[in-house]
Amino acid sequence: MDKAETEAIREVLTGNRDAYRVLMDRYFRSVFRVAFRITGNEADAEEAAQEAFLRAYNKLPGFRQDSAFSTWITRIAMNTAINLVERRNRDLSYHAPRIADEPSADESTVPVADACTGPEGILLDSEAASLRRAAMATLTPMERTAFTLRHMEDLPIAEIAAALNVPANSAKQAIFRAVGKLRRSLAPLAGGVQ
């Protein structure tokens, strides 16, 4: 941790709330990015990032400064985002897209894609995007987090495992399960799983 961060934390702990802005300016983007990968939408990512910074602020008196603030806040953000996804899954399960012969905005249904069309073309249109979102929704929060952080953010498995507080092998298995599920979800587009 560099001197500016240490100084900012020291100031915060002596009652200067505005000193926290230094840490926020440095890490809010990366925290938001991780949260966006996990939650999948901007509004939830912002909510999770805000909550993570608020939690970190309240825990700052107990923060051991021998570890990096960036690692710590990222870990808090991951957990916050996962919790938010779990909450959303419970709250919004009625509104998840469902498969139907004809798409209907009122009933939140999407059609199964035509197997004769190439996957490239299908994924370009909105129906395919809905299907892609639906495929991601089949993942558990842990699978989604592990997969997106490994595949999209290129984070090492050890770091993901530490953030999720699971053994490295569990994080790896979560990623493998996620890819397997997503592949099967895309099967209608590609003409079936081989």
Binding site: L13, A45, M136, H151, M152, V179, Q194
Partner: protein, 239 residues
């Protein structure tokens, strides 16, 4: 031909496999595995990283700042928290804690001046012979238990009366042993009391299960009584 599993092929596509070379060679010759591997690669491509929107830092800071309290370093807070709790204790709670502490000190001081030995352990049960009448009581109890142990069928009235009398005197000796701090002796006498209670209250029927319970309860008790009696006889030489 041995094929690779989906998991192994996923690991390969994610560059997490320790068998990259063998898998690569296999994929060159196995169309089945190659097809699955291609499907995995396509999945990863479809779900590749999309753009991430740029958050509004100022707006987020303004929202966050409104929720920030004024902080102080933890050690000081904990110290104050501790004293706040101490001072907030109700007087009754504090007095109770003080009493418990005094009782503990009292027991500890008593134990420190009077060594206590475990039942059936090495060395004597007591180091000071108690009331000589206890030796007689223990002697009578031992005889009764031995007699009952070797009997069969329901208890006769004489044995019952004897058990009842011993039960009453036993209660006195239990209290005496407790008050003198001889916990080992009190413990043996309490066990004896439970057995005597069984004998005193058991219905006089041949079907009663007192024998079984008696055998269970006297397991080791007779030996304890003999040791205790040995220690409590007036002729016992203190070691």
């Amino acid at each position: 031909m041995n094929h690779f599993t989906e998991e192994e092929l996923i690991a390969y596509q994610l560059h997490e496999s320790s068998d990259e070379q063998p898998i690569r060679r296999h994929l060159e010759t196995c169309s089945e595995c190659a097809s699955i591997s291609d499907s995995i690669a396509e999945t990863l491509r479809v779900f590749s990283a999309g753009p991430v929107p740029e958050p509004d830092l100022d707006r987020n800071w303004q929202r966050l700042r409104g929720n920030l309290s004024v902080l102080a370093p933890e050690p000081r807070r904990r110290w104050m928290h501790f004293w706040t709790h101490i001072l907030a204790w109700p007087a009754a709670g504090f007095a109770a804690a003080a009493l418990v502490l005094l009782a503990f000190i009292g027991i500890y001081a008593h134990k420190a001046t009077k060594p206590n030995y475990a039942i059936n352990g090495h060395g004597p049960l007591t180091t000071q012979p108690a009331d000589p009448n206890i030796a007689n009581h223990l002697d009578a109890a031992e005889r009764l238990l031995t007699e009952v142990n070797n009997a069969s069928g329901p208890l006769d009235n004489v044995t019952r009366e004897q058990a009842h009398t011993l039960l009453l005197t036993n209660a006195v000796y239990v209290r005496q042993a407790r008050s003198s701090g001889d916990l080992a002796e009190a413990s043996v006498l309490e066990d004896l009391g439970r057995v005597l209670t069984t004998l005193d209250n058991e219905p006089p029927t041949p079907e009663s299960a007192w024998h079984l319970r008696f055998e269970m309860n006297t397991n080791g008790l007779l030996l304890d009584i003999r040791i205790l009696r040995q220690n409590d006889t007036p002729t016992h030489t203190q070691q």
